[in-house]
Symmetry: C2
Amino acid sequence: MALRIKDVAQAAGVSVTTVSRVLSNNGPVRDSVRERVQAAMQELGYRPNAAARRLRSGDTATIGLVVSDVRNPFFTEVSRAVEDMAYRQGMRVILCNTDENPEKEAMYLRLMEEERVTGMIYSPTRDAAERFRAEHYPFPVVMIDRADAASHADAVTLDNRAAAERLTLHLLERGHRCIFGLFGNASTTGRERHAGYCDAMQRHGLGADAVFVEPQPAGAQQAVGARLAARGGAPVPDAILASNGLLLLGAFRALREARQTPAPGLHGAPGHPPAAPALCGFDNDAWTELVEPGITVIAQPVYEIGRCAMTLLSERIAQPDIPRRTRVLPGELIVRGSSTGIVA
Amino acid sequence: MALRIKDVAQAAGVSVTTVSRVLSNNGPVRDSVRERVQAAMQELGYRPNAAARRLRSGDTATIGLVVSDVRNPFFTEVSRAVEDMAYRQGMRVILCNTDENPEKEAMYLRLMEEERVTGMIYSPTRDAAERFRAEHYPFPVVMIDRADAASHADAVTLDNRAAAERLTLHLLERGHRCIFGLFGNASTTGRERHAGYCDAMQRHGLGADAVFVEPQPAGAQQAVGARLAARGGAPVPDAILASNGLLLLGAFRALREARQTPAPGLHGAPGHPPAAPALCGFDNDAWTELVEPGITVIAQPVYEIGRCAMTLLSERIAQPDIPRRTRVLPGELIVRGSSTGIVA
DNA sequence: TTGAAAGCGCTAACAA
DNA sequence: TTGTTAGCGCTTTCAA
């Protein structure tokens, strides 16, 4: 095995206690002794055993981060934020991808307990969110992206309802009337955004025309394709709104597939052919700026969400008994050509 | 504190050893006893303490994954592959982002030692790669993306030289002659791809016209912008080749900025205005397929690279003394409109 | 300011 | 098939 604290103690001619004090920089040690110990550690190439420290001290200095999939740019960025903050505080991060799969999720929650994580940042699937009770867990939990008062967990979310309303109103202001909405069915987020969309439509005396789908591009693509191809009574939408980055991607593909550039526009004026529907959605993912015309989106302050979650978590770790807190961050509307017809 | 194995033992009326045997599913236990123990665990909600198990067993069941930045889609996907494989084998993953910063990198390598990781998957910066010696570390190391024989570490890489040559030949076949190359200066990968590019140019009796830049979009954008604006002798490039996804993005932005759609084409035929340069590069990142025309790229088998790295690592953990192995995976040329003028 | 010794929760000899 | 017991490497009383 590797070197132990005892080896360092012998080399430096002190007790293990003293070495431990130098290691954790805690407790009185004469400067000359400290230097001697540090020199011994350096020379021997000693590395303290993290598992032993955790076991003995009871402090794992570990944050659990449970999300659906890091490949979703939203979570990629959140995980970077969380990791930056955590490592800066001398904490590790255990990252788990549930793939919206309840069994995986249950397994990882169990893992969090076995690891005795100091705290967890958690983005539950819809079903799990409804059942989750923070008080059943022996560590603090901060929810991100999705929140639920009954969970009794701190949370940081977007102001989903307001952002969706804002986005819908933007389309209505541009003259669109028949706005087809795509919402994710796996989280509370999708429902909140749906509510905001409905609010805006209602305020203009318009009915909702929306579906809930799996939060994957394929399902969204199919739904949009079907909606565009629908015969019979339903009028063709003149705008499409997708409630997250994955759905937006699917919608974009469907429009392209239909050989309709997602260019903006109203129904054709007399003498002009009808234009393709406008497109907008949530999440300022890289591609939305790169395609032409760019896609109008609600940008989430993604890094900030991760940072904020870590801050809430740290504060609760320090003071476990403060009342539940929720941070609601605003989304930012970024208007691009896909909803205005103005190609930058 | 939480429940201990002793509590389970008491509840089930057996010794701690028996509980341990049930836990690790290892050692003889009568079926009826096993069931009784499992029932007790279930009822009490017992969770074994991971730190204690690791300390005692000496097996941390932990993989270290050290990359530059998970936000780079290449590493996002690699990390998913590694995590999928690892968790399936009951191992955890510790993910570290070095940001190509030598100090962070050194800190994380130290962390790997303190965690007593079972093995490490490592994408070193160029400078670190030259100095790294696997035999100085007490655990097996598999390098990804970047490799160096002197490191004595197993490695899985792309066939960089062949892929770059292939991509360059593709441009040459389409009639391009003045091909400006952008290569990353932070890794051996950039140099290998540069060599492949030079091979292809030389074979056609052409000189290289390339620069090495920081592997960030901003630097690439600037370099391409400068090259396009160059006055004096240097002819305007009729094609641009970028050696990774970040550089490709920068080049794309530069072309757009120059109000030149990255549309393909040769120098203008008589009577036609000169077309914008062709664009191609490495990494089949999502946006390259979404922009129009799509970008011609070398697709790396990214998930497979991660999977393969975990396989090599597992095998070396099982047999530490087998000779060093290198897996070289082929890249796949995906031809899109940016190099052919055929807009799908 | 230092050291001796107990013990964190678990696993693995060894004994029965 | 089961139990007793000695540590894994560290931190933390407690006493000096």
